[in-house]
């Protein structure tokens, strides 16, 4: 599998589950927030790892190598469109051409909220509602939003991992927050 040089890393698939399954699972769940899908992606990662084990050069550690496979699986996952989650379209909030370009579309204008919102912040149901609303976003938006806002990952790191520019990231964050705002407003904050 590898040369006997001391700096060369080796693969030991028999220990993968004990050593890495929880780590890979956590890595996936914080990005996708779905137990079943995360489990499947971890399994696919191990399968791909086995298949391509002969190509392992031993330059990276086993864990880094497995993560690089998993990252590609996650990107493939969010590019897939035909699943229940993430089918939702992002609704326009602003006119995108004509005289009013960039202005609020009347029916999308923010509504005033009840005055108790601040007291509800720690409410468990409200916190759960965030997940429900995020799950209604297109997958790519959901992932970028979760990484940036819930995991508080640096902009640069997210851009590198997902292969997007920082201006692209801010457009996604902007649209995601707009949509979430509306979703939370409809379900929780409406007067």
């Amino acid at each position: 599998m590898s040369s006997p040089s001391p700096i060369t890393h080796t693969l030991d698939p028999a220990k993968w589950i004990d050593n890495y399954s929880d780590y890979l699972f956590r890595y996936t769940t914080v990005r996708i927030n779905d137990h079943e899908i995360s489990k499947d992606l971890v399994q696919e990662t191990f399968f791909s790892g086995l298949k391509s084990a002969k190509n392992f050069e031993g330059k990276a550690t086993e864990r880094t190598w497995l993560i690089s496979i998993l990252k590609r699986k996650i990107i493939d996952h969010y590019r897939k469109k035909n699943s229940k989650k993430g089918q939702a379209e992002v609704r326009m909030n602003f006119y995108n051409d004509g005289e009013n370009e960039g202005d609020w579309i009347e029916e999308r204008v923010p509504q005033s909220w009840d005055s108790e919102v601040e007291k509800k912040i720690e409410n468990k149901e409200l916190q759960h509602q965030i997940d429900l609303c995020v799950d209604k976003l297109p997958k790519k938006y959901a992932m970028v939003f979760r990484m940036k806002t819930i995991q508080e990952v640096d902009t640069e790191v997210i851009c590198k991992e997902l292969g997007i520019s920082s201006s692209n990231l801010w457009v996604i964050i902007h649209r995601a927050r707009m949509q979430l705002r509306k979703c939370l407003e409809d379900n929780w904050f409406n007067n």
Partner: protein
């Protein structure tokens, strides 16, 4: 110069969102303040956005607290182990 300072509601709310993460530039913030003079809707959006940021921060703290204990169940690992052994034969 004045044209540069004049931004749409779409741009203003984008700056506001960026600023929730402390990543809006100084010039962007000035443009936002000028926009506020004539646009009460964006003022309201911003106030609500600050509340949402507090909510998301609290969610982030709670999520991270639980995260360390996130793992696959013993049973799931055993199923996976068998699948992996099949592949490895």
């Amino acid at each position: 110069m004045f044209k540069k300072l004049n931004i749409t509601c779409n741009q203003a709310t984008t700056i506001c969102d960026k600023s929730q993460y402390g990543e809006a530039s100084f010039f962007d913030k000035i443009k936002l303040q000028i926009h506020f003079i004539g646009c009460k809707i964006c003022v309201m959006y911003t106030k609500q956005n600050v509340l949402l940021t507090k909510l998301y921060k609290s969610k982030a703290t709670n999520t991270k607290r639980k995260q360390d204990s996130l793992c696959m169940t013993h049973q799931e690992k055993e199923v996976l182990r068998k699948e992996l052994e099949k592949q490895n034969v």
